[in-house]
C-alpha cells in the first residue's frame, strides 16, 4: 500500500459557549503530513489537538477550511468512507465481540470471505504479539493487551492513514514506554501516514518524525524534536517542551546581550538597547566553584542529575548538573560562577 499525504488547509471549528459566546476550538490550522510520516499534535488539554484529529477522522466537521487525504477533498465525507484507522484513548473495543470479531470487524463490513478474514486477522494479531488471543473477550485482557487489539483492529483493513488519540494515557508508565516503541516500529514497518495526539512531550519526542505544538486552538510551532527544544518560537513552546529559564536581556550589540550584569554571546538582529526574551535550558549552564555573581539557593539530588536553584541578581535560574558525580556538590548559600555555552542561549522573538 503506498502511503498518502494528509493536508489541512486553514481548518477552523468553533462552538457556542454560554459565557464566552463563540469560542474557537481550532482556528486556522494548516498542517501537512508527508507520505509515511508520523506527525504528533502536542499540547495541553483543551488546546484543540483532539478536535483537529477528530476532524481528520470525520467525527467532527470543520466550520471552515478543507481537509485532504491523498489529495482528495474529504472535508464533508462521512468517517466510514475515509479509510482511516483510529486508535482511541479508551481503546473502544466492542464489548460484545471477541478479540477475533473485533479485529475482523472492518473486513466483515467490507464483505470479505471468511477464509481471507481469518488469515488477515491472525496475521495482524501476530504482528501485535497477540497470536492465539482470538477467542478472548476484551474484558479478559489487560490494558496493554486491549490497546494492542485496538491497534490490530485499526491496521488490519490497510487504512490510508492511522490516527491515534492519546492512546497510552490509560497505561502505567512502564507499559507506556513499551507500547510507544511498538507503535512506532509498527508504523514504520507499514509505512503509513500517521497523526498522533498526546499531551506528553516526552512521548511526542520519542515517537514523532515531526511535532506540531498547539495552544488555544492554534498551531504555535512545527518541527522536529530538536528544533522545538533548541529553538522554541514562543515562551509557551519553551515552557511546554522541557524545562526552561526564560529571562529578559538587554541587547548590547549584534552579538551580545546583558543579563543581570553578565554579558553573554548571542546572535540577534535586535537593535542595541532593546529588551529581548531569552531561553536557556537548565543543562546548558555550567556551575563552577570559583566565587562569582551566583548563589546556590537549593540543591535537589535526583540520581542521574542534580538540580540547583541559583540566584543571579533579581533572577532565579534552574540549573541541572549532569556531571555531578565527578565533583563535590555545591552547598546551599555558596557563591558560584556561571558559564553559558556558546549557542546555548536562544532569543525567542529575535529572529
Amino acid at each position: 500500500m503506498t502511503p498518502v499525504s494528509i493536508k489541512l488547509d486553514r481548518v477552523s471549528k468553533h462552538f457556542d459557549h454560554t459565557v464566552k459566546g463563540q469560542v474557537y476550538a481550532v482556528r486556522d490550522v494548516s498542517l501537512e503530513v508527508a507520505d509515511g510520516e508520523l506527525l504528533t499534535l502536542l499540547g495541553p488539554s483543551g488546546c484543540g489537538k483532539s478536535t483537529t484529529l477528530r476532524m481528520i477522522a470525520g467525527f467532527e466537521e470543520p466550520d471552515e477550511g478543507t481537509i485532504l487525504i491523498g489529495g482528495k477533498d474529504v472535508t464533508h465525507v462521512m468517517p466510514n468512507k475515509r479509510g482511516i484507522g483510529f486508535v482511541f484513548q479508551n481503546y473502544a473495543l466492542f464489548p460484545h465481540l471477541s478479540v477475533f470479531e473485533n479485529v475482523a470487524y472492518a473486513l466483515q463490513v467490507q464483505g470479505r470471505d471468511a477464509a481471507s478474514i481469518a488469515r488477515s486477522v491472525s496475521e495482524v494479531l501476530e504482528l501485535v504479539g497477540l497470536a492465539r488471543y482470538e477467542r478472548q473477550q476484551p474484558h479478559q485482557l489487560s490494558g496493554g493487551e486491549q490497546q494492542r487489539v485496538a491497534l490490530a483492529r485499526a491496521v488490519v483493513f490497510e487504512p490510508k492513514v492511522l490516527l491515534f488519540d492519546e492512546p497510552l494515557s490509560n497505561l502505567d508508565a512502564k507499559r507506556r514506554v513499551e507500547m510507544r516503541d511498538e507503535i512506532r516500529s509498527l508504523q514504520k514497518r507499514i509505512g503509513i501516514s500517521t497523526v498522533y495526539v498526546t499531551h506528553d512531550q516526552e512521548e511526542a519526542m520519542a515517537i514523532s518524525d515531526r511535532i506540531a505544538v498547539m495552544d488555544q486552538g492554534v498551531v504555535v510551532q512545527e518541527g522536529d524534536a530538536e528544533s522545538l527544544y533548541y529553538r522554541p518560537a514562543t515562551e509557551f513552546v519553551a515552557r511546554f517542551i522541557g524545562r526552561a529559564n526564560i529571562l529578559d536581556g538587554k541587547v548590547i550589540s549584534a552579538t551580545e546581550v546583558e543579563i543581570e550584569g553578565l554579558r553573554l554571546r548571542v546572535a540577534t538582529r535586535r537593535a542595541p538597547g532593546e529588551v529581548v526574551r531569552l531561553v536557556i535550558r537548565p543543562e546548558m549552564i555550567e556551575l563552577s566553584s570559583e566565587p562569582g555573581p551566583g548563589r546556590i539557593e537549593e540543591r535537589t539530588f535526583l540520581g542521574e542529575k542534580t538540580d540547583y536553584r541559583v540566584k543571579l541578581g533579581a533572577e532565579t535560574l534552574q540549573i541541572t548538573a549532569t556531571d555531578h558525580y565527578r565533583r563535590t556538590p555545591f552547598d546551599v548559600g555558596q557563591p558560584v560562577s556561571l558559564h553559558f555555552h556558546a549557542g546555548a542561549i536562544h532569543v525567542i522573538d529575535g529572529h
Binding site: A57, H96, R153, A154
Partner: protein
C-alpha cells in the same frame, strides 16, 4: 449558532437512513400523539362560535364533578402516602434485613406480582374476601351484607397494586447509601435510631418524593380499581369520564372531564421531572455493591421488619390463591365444588377476546420494542434539529392518564379521514405509543453508559450509520429492546384505561371482558380470565428474561425491573 444548525442539517441530509427514520418517527408522533391531543383540545375549547371556555366552566361548576375531582386527589394522596410507606418497608427489609437470597426472591415475587397482573385482580379478591358473601366478612366473621365499596377498599386495593413502584424506586437508593456513612455516624456515638433518622432517611428523601409522585400519578390515572370498588358514593374523575361517554354518549363531557384530570397529572409530571428528578444524593450505578451485613440495624428491628414484609407478602399470596380457587369452583362462597367450567367458558365464548388480545399484543410487542430502541437511540446519540421536541412528544402519551389518551383517540379516529376506531390498528397504536416510552428511557439510560467512541470506532472501520446500528449499537442495547418488548406485551395483556374506549365487536380485549363479567357478577369467568393473563404474562416474561440472561450485556441491572419501567 446558525452555522452549527446548518452543519447539523447537512449531516442529517447527507445520511438518507437517518433522515428517513427521523421523518417516519415524526409522522407517527404527529399522527398518534399530537393529532388526537389536538382533537381533544378542540372538542373541549371550540364550538360553533369559536374558542370558548363555557363547557369547561360548566363542568367545573358541576358539584358532582367537583366531588370527583376532590375524591381523585384524596385517593391519590392516600395511595401515595401508604404506598410509599409500604414500599419503603419492603426496600429497607430487602437492603438491610439480612435476608438470604431465596427469601429476597420471595419478597421480590410478592412485590412484582401485582404489577404484572390484570387491573382487577386485587379488586376481585377483595370482593371475594370482604364482599357480602366474602370469605372473611361472611364465612369467618359472620357479617351479613358487609359493604365493600367505597374509599377504603379502593385505597387498599390501589396501595397493594402500586406499592411495588415505590419499592423499585427506593430499593436502589437505599442500597446505594454508603454503609460507611452510617458506620461513621455509629462510631461518632449516635444510637441506631438516631442514625436512621438523621442519616439514612434524609439521604433517601428524594427517593421518597419520587416514589410518592409516581404513586400519586398511578392512582390518579387508575381506572379499573375505582370502577369496581369505588361505588356510587365515591366517584373519581377517570370513571366519571368513562361513564359520561359510555353511559350518556356525551363525548364533549368526557373530553372536558379527562382534561380536568390533566391538571394534577401535569403538575405531578413537572414536579417529578424538574424538581425531584435532579436531586439525588446517591448515584445509582449499574454496579451492585456487596451486601455486607450491616450492623446499623438492631437484630430485633430487622426481625420485626421481615415479619411485617412477609405478612404483606402473605396477604398478596392469599389474594392470588383466592383468585385461583375462585376460578376453579362453581360459585365462590355459595357452591365450593370443583369445576373447570369457567375455563371452558373463557376458551369458548371468551376465545375471541383471548385471540384478539394475543394478536394485538403479538403485533404491538415487536413494533413497540423497535420503536422504543429507535427513538431512544436517536435521542441519545444523534444530533438533529428538533431532538428535544421529539423526546418530549414521545413521552406525552406515557405521561397522560390512560383515560385522556383513550378519549382523545376515540374522538380523533372516529371520523374520516382517519376512521380507525373499531379496528386492531388503533389499539396497537395506543399500546405502542403509550408503553414504548419505557423502552425509550431504558435505551437512553443504557446508551449513556456506552461510550460514543464505540460507534466512532465502527464508523472509522468502514461501517455506515445503519451498519453501525445493527452491528454495535443494537447488540449493546438489546437489554433495553427486550425490556421494551416486555413492557408493551405486559401492558397489552393487562391495560384497560385507554383501550376500553377503543374496543369493538370485531376487536375485543380480555381486560374488557373481565370488566363485563364483573358487572354481570360472573365472577368465576373473571377469575379464570385473570389467572390466564397472569400465567401468559409470567411465561413471556420468563422467556424474555432467559433471552436477556444469555445476552452478554455490558451493564448489569435486573431484568424484572426493566420490564416494569417507571
Amino acid at each position: 449558532m446558525a452555522q452549527a444548525q446548518s452543519a447539523s442539517w447537512r449531516r442529517v441530509a447527507g445520511d438518507p437512513a437517518l433522515l428517513g427514520t427521523i421523518a417516519a418517527i415524526w409522522i407517527l408522533l404527529l399522527l398518534f400523539v399530537l393529532f388526537p391531543l389536538a382533537h381533544l383540545l378542540e372538542r373541549t375549547f371550540v364550538d360553533e362560535n369559536g374558542l370558548t371556555l363555557a363547557p369547561l366552566l360548566e363542568s367545573v361548576r358541576d358539584p358532582g364533578h367537583q366531588a370527583a375531582f376532590v375524591n381523585s386527589l384524596i385517593l391519590a394522596t392516600a395511595v401515595g402516602v401508604w404506598g410509599t410507606a409500604l414500599g419503603f418497608l419492603f426496600a429497607l427489609t430487602a437492603v438491610r434485613g439480612g435476608l438470604g437470597r431465596h427469601w429476597l426472591t420471595v419478597l421480590d415475587a410478592a412485590a412484582l406480582l401485582p404489577l404484572v397482573s390484570p387491573p382487577f385482580t386485587t379488586s376481585i379478591s377483595i370482593i371475594f374476601s370482604f364482599g357480602p358473601k366474602g370469605f372473611i366478612t361472611h364465612d369467618l366473621l359472620g357479617l351479613a351484607n358487609a359493604s365493600v365499596y367505597g374509599f377504603w377498599s379502593t385505597c387498599f386495593a390501589e396501595t397493594l397494586t402500586y406499592f411495588p413502584i415505590a419499592y423499585l424506586t427506593l430499593r436502589p437508593i437505599l442500597a446505594a447509601i454508603d454503609p460507611n456513612l452510617e458506620e461513621m455516624a455509629l462510631s461518632l456515638g449516635g444510637s441506631r435510631w438516631r442514625i436512621f433518622r438523621t442519616v439514612t432517611v434524609p439521604l433517601a428523601v428524594p427517593g421518597f418524593a419520587n416514589a410518592f409522585l409516581l404513586l400519586f400519578a398511578a392512582s390518579l390515572a387508575d381506572f379499573a380499581t375505582p370502577l369496581i370498588l369505588a361505588g356510587n358514593a365515591f366517584p373519581v374523575l377517570p370513571t366519571q369520564a368513562y361513564l359520561q361517554i359510555t353511559g350518556l354518549f356525551d363525548f364533549k363531557g368526557g373530553a372536558v372531564l379527562s382534561l380536568i384530570l390533566l391538571l394534577p397529572a401535569a403538575a405531578v409530571f413537572v414536579a417529578q421531572r424538574y424538581w425531584v428528578g435532579r436531586r439525588t444524593y446517591v448515584t445509582v450505578t449499574g454496579k451492585v455493591g456487596q451486601r455486607s451485613r450491616n450492623r446499623t440495624m438492631a437484630p430485633g428491628v430487622a426481625a420485626l421488619l421481615c415479619a411485617a414484609c412477609f405478612a404483606v407478602a402473605a396477604l398478596i399470596a392469599y389474594f392470588y390463591a383466592l383468585l385461583l380457587i375462585a376460578s376453579l369452583v362453581v360459585a365462590f362462597g355459595a357452591n365450593n365444588s370443583f369445576t373447570l367450567h369457567h375455563y371452558e367458558v373463557i376458551f369458548t365464548e371468551g376465545l375471541p377476546a383471548i385471540r384478539d388480545t394475543l394478536v394485538i399484543a403479538a403485533i404491538g410487542m415487536p413494533l413497540g420494542g423497535l420503536y422504543g430502541v429507535l427513538v431512544g437511540y436517536l435521542i441519545a446519540r444523534r444530533r438533529f434539529p428538533g431532538r428535544r421536541a421529539m423526546e418530549i412528544v414521545a413521552m406525552i402519551n406515557y405521561a397522560l392518564p390512560g383515560t385522556i389518551v383513550g378519549i382523545a383517540y376515540l374522538i380523533a379516529f372516529n371520523d374520516p379521514p382517519l376512521a380507525l376506531t373499531g379496528g386492531a390498528l388503533i389499539i396497537v397504536a395506543c399500546y405502542v405509543f403509550r408503553y414504548s416510552p419505557t423502552g425509550i428511557r431504558a435505551t437512553v439510560a443504557l446508551l449513556e453508559q456506552i461510550d460514543r467512541s464505540l460507534e466512532e470506532a465502527s464508523a472509522s472501520l468502514g461501517a455506515g450509520t445503519r451498519e453501525t446500528f445493527r452491528r454495535v449499537t443494537l447488540p449493546l442495547i438489546a437489554p433495553a429492546f427486550f425490556a421494551g418488548l416486555g413492557v408493551v406485551f405486559i401492558r397489552s395483556m393487562t391495560a384497560i384505561s385507554a383501550t376500553i374506549f377503543l374496543v369493538s365487536i370485531s376487536w375485543m380485549l380480555i381486560t374488557v371482558r373481565i370488566l363485563e363479567n364483573m358487572t354481570e357478577m360472573a365472577l368465576g369467568p373473571a377469575a379464570a380470565f385473570s389467572v390466564f393473563v397472569i400465567v401468559v404474562v409470567f411465561a413471556v416474561v420468563a422467556g424474555l428474561s432467559a433471552v436477556l440472561a444469555r445476552l452478554r450485556a455490558p451493564t448489569g441491572g435486573t431484568a424484572a425491573r426493566s420490564f416494569l419501567g417507571g
